[in-house]
């Protein structure tokens, strides 16, 4: 009985809930990337670097210009949305008909450009927003409000994207284009405009993630390296372009990391998560929610 209680204690529950909250962070990151891939069929390797730029924007708006967090957040979302649209217009659009590897390499190039730009423009210092949110305590368990906010934002973002895609004309057009690029143009839909809108929404979601991540992490030019690969894996695990799949994959991944890290070394949590990913690529190569054929 004691051995059972040693394992199934309050800390196990805390780890489970922390896993869910980490899942919220990862789901939020995966949302925009999935949207872009689902519609435009291009993977933005540099997605986490857009988040990094957004984090810098938040830092400077709040710390340097003294703007309140709540005013800085929509400005940042708008800025990164514009950046997303610019990325599409300048880099992706000319390569839409190019082989996928060219598109990947181009966005990979943008990744290095953004990292170098941040290094030159902002320096290599780690910067901290300096906002310390209170902590939610339940007995011996404590949870971060910053993580709770991310979790809620991921849920709201997911629902908002779903409603936008299903209840608006533009959303319907986006979905239609994702199903057949060529035919929609023949039916009079301005595909260029739809791509631009989708990229701006994807960028805006990266901006939203930046507003919430900046409460939890220091900003530096290489912060994207901590999230970029894992976000990409989650999107692939959920099925690239599948919002719900990506959402679920984020939580599965986060729970494996959290519980694996609790029962073994922290590193093993990540090893288990990546091993799970590899196995799933064999079992369900099209993603967790893919239909079997």
């Amino acid at each position: 009985m004691q051995a059972f209680l040693d394992i199934f204690d309050i800390y196990l529950l805390e780890a489970v809930i922390n896993g869910i909250l980490l899942g919220g962070v990862l789901a939020l990151l995966a949302l925009g990337l999935n949207l872009i891939f689902g519609v435009i069929d291009v993977t933005w390797i540099c997605y986490a670097e857009l988040v990094m730029i957004g984090m810098y924007a938040m830092y400077f708006l709040v710390q340097y210009y003294g703007i309140s967090y709540f005013l800085a957040a929509p400005l940042t979302i708008l800025l990164v949305a514009l950046l997303g649209a610019a990325l599409h217009y300048l880099v992706i659009a000319p390569l839409l008909t190019a082989p996928p590897i060219n598109q990947l390499l181009a966005t990979g190039g943008v990744l290095f450009v953004l990292q170098s730009f941040a290094t030159v423009a902002f320096g290599i210092d780690f910067r901290n927003l300096g906002i310390r949110l209170p902590v939610l305590a339940f007995g011996d368990m404590n949870f971060s409000y910053a993580r709770l906010l991310s979790f809620l934002a991921a849920l709201v973002g997911m629902v908002a994207v779903y409603l936008f895609m299903t209840r608006t004309f533009t959303g319907t057009a986006i979905r239609a284009i994702s199903q057949d690029r060529q035919i929609m143009a023949l039916m009079g839909v301005d595909t260029k405009r739809i791509y631009l809108i989708t990229s701006a929404i994807g960028g805006g979601l990266a901006g939203l993630a930046a507003c919430l991540l900046v409460l939890q992490y220091d900003v530096h030019p290489f912060v994207g390296l901590s999230f970029g690969p894992i976000t990409f894996l989650i999107c692939v695990l959920g099925g690239l372009g599948n919002f719900i799949g990506g959402f679920i994959a984020a939580f599965v991944f986060a729970e494996i990391i959290s519980l694996g890290g609790l029962f073994s070394d922290l590193e093993w949590g990540y090893v288990l998560a990546f091993a799970f990913f590899i196995v799933m690529m064999f079992v369900r190569p099209a993603g967790l929610l893919a239909r079997r054929r």
Binding site: F126, N128, D140
Partner: protein
Amino acid sequence: MRVRMAARLVRGLLVAISATGLALSVQAQDQGKEKKIKIGVVFDLTGPLAGGGSELGYIGAKIVLDHFAKTGVEGYKIEAVYADAQSKPDIAINESVRLLEQEKVDMVLGFFSSAQCVPVAARVEQLKKFMWMTTCISSAVFNEKGYKYVFRPQASGDQFGMMTMDFIAQNAKAKFDKEPKDLRVAIIHEDGAYGVDVSRGNEAGAKKAGFNVVMKEGYSATAPDLSALVTKLKRAKPDVIFHTGYNPDITLLLRQAREQGLKFGALMGHGAGYGVYEKLKEGMGTDATYIFNTDPISIWLANQKTMDPKLPPVIKMVGEEFDKIRPGVAIRSAHVGIGASNTYVFMNDVLPRAIKKYGGVDPDALRKAALDTDIPEGGTMLGFGVKFYGEGTPMAGQNERSFPVVIQYIDDKSSVVWPKSQAQREAVLPLPKGTTYSNQ
């Protein structure tokens, strides 16, 4: 006959003139060939390690190199060629080899990360070139390697780990009112060469002191989440946490520790990210107060009364130059002093001896000069002396006279609290009641 004699005379004159001209030209060439030592300097100027302390080490080394570039050393001009290791071991190796083989530098100097020092040292030794490490600390660089051309005046990682354990062991009864066997300690570290090495020193020190090690674990410095580690620490309930990390993993750990309500009696840091107080303060606010750090003493805190009288003016110069580069810094990081002092030892002691006694700056002359180094305690800006373990010993190339000290950050000031001989104030231990992490 006369014509023949005249022709012979002219020929002789021409030969004499051309011989004299040739001799003069050779002499002029010798005089014109400037004596110079080219030093390749490798630090991380971009990537996560740059802000974690590497750039500060680079600034310290550069201040000293610039200083000697103005005066030269024993008639030799000093030319430094800088390279950015980009926080990546493979880049550090490639840049070192490029400097040595393409830029034709006479030696390489610097290196912040232990993960870079270990492979770069092996490569430089293979090339039979001279390497002077200013900052990285991993014992694995030297352990049983038998290198001939690699030297490090800096203390080694296991010394860092042993020093903090010794500090807590000597204070366990008085400050925690616990026998060592009842003191619960946790050892956590980033899983690179640096963290692993320091944690080994921690482990050996804990064993020697008889502490109850309730947890020992490594993690990746780039991990995006450390909440599971914090949960395990909460479960283990340590009195003292011994942590070795870079940044931003330190601030991530401590932020998540605050959010998850982790409590403890003391936090012992071991250089790198813990040596950059400005960043700790920025990330943690007042919670950075009472944190301990182990590093070579900051040159601005070292006891100047027991120091070689030639050194205080150099310390002043380094401070003034640093303030010009980074004005308004509350506590000048120990990393600046480490880079400056260890570069100064080479420029002021080893290099002149290589030139005067061994006739130049080739790797063998530099190696012999380094092996002759015999600086007593108080002979460097960092307070310790320098004498390298000789060839044939397990740690050949490592300074046997270096030692770190334990400092504590209190009210935006850092003070040496251990060893007793260097202590500037009494340590505040355990964390006072009412502070964020206090377990009292």
